[in-house]
């Protein structure tokens, strides 16, 4: 072994990959030979031996604050401007938005990127194509933010979040391979990020929703429970409640409504309705659905009555229809078939007005189930024929039309059964999540 020991400075440069081959060799040979001086230098890479910062934290904070003060003022200003910037482009076509945003520096901010992401979530059910366009625009903005405005790790956090939004929009559009690819990107950027558990929880929540849509329930539960633990660790009870709602919906989807009820009741205890009123309403609505599933009609009706007062008749028309739909199901379960049929028919007609063919078909099939049970076969036949015509005119997807044709033909032969209707109903419900599903009648 050479007698010349590496200095501390040389050792630091060794760890930084800055030495020549001979210098690197010297260091490693010393370490392998058990050189005590070199071991002392290596010990600096473990948390045991160096003077620490405890006493200096207050001075540290003051010095750092002097540097960050201007950044804080700018961050507040950018957040205030971001909403106005969003409003200025929201009604433009995606192509025009892209041109405006990419070519103007004032849009290249963290706050505006976050605004686009949030808007993508708001638009996800009303217009999932636009939600995807907004998320993709957010990705462009994230790439245009000046490097001086955020560290590489923080920008990685931002990109992880954007890719999660892209995955979510693709999921809602039924593009599962695209959603998987976007989720993989999100995870890659997360690995390069700050390690903020809030970001990981966000990606896990969206992964949970994707796995639920793919009917990979065990994986969905794993992802969602981990997200819940992360929110709990951070101390964000409301976010914990939000993910509990997602988990509850998954449980209901996979046929475990009693677990769904427990989860939703936990969630309602955590959700801050003032912070997100829609989430609280959504949780109660799902609770009513689950209660109806387990044969608790009175309790379900109580929640339904309370929810009716909470929804806005103009903005929440579809949600109110779903509520009426649920109420009709509950009334049917209680034996009040006439009221149930009346309610379902009203819902069916309103879905026709809204040009939602799958919902029209689903409601009609539920009506047909009741009619068959009551021996109203002529009425069921008329309804089946009418539904085929309406679905065709509203442009329902081909596989769903094939399924409805089976119903129409069975009704014409007076061979329509509850079992057959149930099979087709199940197919149509699954095709909502997966438009590529094939009907095998």
């Amino acid at each position: 072994m050479s007698l010349s020991h590496p200095s501390q400075e040389l050792f630091e440069r060794f760890a930084g990959g800055e030495l020549t081959a001979d210098e690197r060799r010297l260091v490693v040979e010393h370490l392998l030979a058990g050189c005590e001086r070199c071991r002392d230098l290596a010990a600096r890479y473990w948390p045991s031996s160096l003077p620490v910062a405890e006493a200096a934290a207050s001075r540290l904070g003051g010095r750092i604050w002097a540097r960050l003060q201007e950044r804080e003022l700018r961050a507040v200003r950018e957040r205030e401007q971001a909403e106005e910037l969003l409003a200025s482009i929201l009604n433009d076509s995606p192509a025009r938005r892209h041109t405006q945003v990419v070519n103007r520096r004032r849009y290249h901010t963290w706050a505006f990127c976050r605004c686009l992401q949030d808007q993508s979530i708001v638009r996800i059910f009303a217009d999932p194509h636009d939600a995807l366009a907004l998320a993709e625009l957010a990705l462009e903005v994230a790439q245009l933010i000046p490097p001086a405005d955020a560290t590489p790790a923080l920008l990685a956090d931002l990109k992880a979040r954007v890719w999660a939004r892209i995955a979510n929009a693709r999921r809602v559009l039924g593009d599962f391979p695209g959603a998987e690819a976007a989720l993989a990107e999100a995870r890659m950027w997360l690995a390069r990020g700050t390690g903020d558990p809030m970001e990981e929880a966000d990606v896990l929540e969206l992964e949970g929703s994707l796995r639920t849509a793919q009917r990979r329930f065990e994986q969905a539960e794993g992802a969602l429970r981990r997200a819940i633990r992360l929110h709990s660790r951070i101390g964000d009870r409301h976010a914990e409640g939000k993910v509990l709602v997602v988990l509850a919906v998954m449980k209901n989807t996979c046929g475990e409504p009693r677990q769904s009820i427990d989860l939703l009741q936990q969630a309602l205890g955590l959700i801050d309705a003032a912070r997100d009123p829609r989430l609280a309403i959504n949780a109660r609505h799902n609770l009513a659905v689950a209660l109806a599933s387990v044969g608790e009609p009175q309790e379900a009706l109580q929640h339904i009555a309370a929810l009716r007062a909470l929804y806005d008749p103009t903005r929440d028309r579809v949600s109110l229809l779903r509520l009426r739909h649920l109420e009709s199901r509950v009334r049917n379960a209680m034996g009040d078939h006439a009221t149930a049929l009346e309610g379902l028919d009203e819902v069916r007609r309103q879905f026709m007005d809204l040009a939602m063919p799958l919902e029209v078909a689903l409601t009609a099939l539920e009506m047909a189930t009741i009619q068959v049970e009551l021996g109203m076969l002529d009425a069921a036949q008329r309804l089946a024929s009418e539904t085929m015509a309406i679905s065709r005119s509203l442009g329902i997807q081909r596989e769903a039309l094939a399924a409805l044709l089976v119903i129409e033909e069975a009704a014409q032969r007076k061979a329509l059964t509850q079992q057959l209707i149930k099979e087709v109903l199940t197919f149509l419900q699954q095709s909502k999540q997966n438009p590529e599903l094939k009907f095998r009648g």
Binding site: A15, G16, G17, R24, R25, V28, E29, L31, L32, A33, G34, C38, R39, A42, A43, Y45, W46, P47, L50, P51, V52, A53, E54, A55, A56, A57, S58, L60, G61, R63, I64, W65, R67, L68, E72, A75, V76, R79, E80, E83, W110, R114, D118, Q119, I121, A150, T151, L154, D157, T194, G195, D196, P197, M198, I234, G235, H238, A239, R275, D276
Partner: protein
Amino acid sequence: MTVHGAPAAAGSVELLLGRLAPEIGEVFASFKIPYQDSEDLLQEALLALLLKRDRIQEPASWLLGALRTQCLIYWRRRRRRLYEAIDATLLEMAADPVPADDERTNWRCDLSHAISHLSDRCKSILRLRYGLGYEGDEVAERLGYRASSIRKVTLRCLSALTHRITGSPPAREVRA
């Protein structure tokens, strides 16, 4: 519209920092962060707080949590730089075509001795890596690992080897 509440007023983070100074000091002390590096870590955590402020409901606990995460990552990255530097150098030395002389074979004996104290799995991996010049996917195939997992397993073995040759305790995350 923001989904999660109104943005914070300017100056609120400065007040928070003043209030949390003792706890911040405790975090650095418990993770034994060297003084000269603590400033960068605190600055990164504060910048994150500024930028993510509208999503953070409990800024005090968030900031302390973010700082703890920064401290964990600090030590993890620092150690990883050392493992990777040692590994890269050993690979160069192992590939050296210069005929062995007494001085040159010493390091091979020292390395072999160090590896002999590791787990069977690490012995296998590192002997293939340094003794036979196997790359990651070749090691994976030889030992029956998935290509996607061999990198992580190799890193753990490099960590174990580094601990062995530096005489330091096994890597265990310091938790506050």
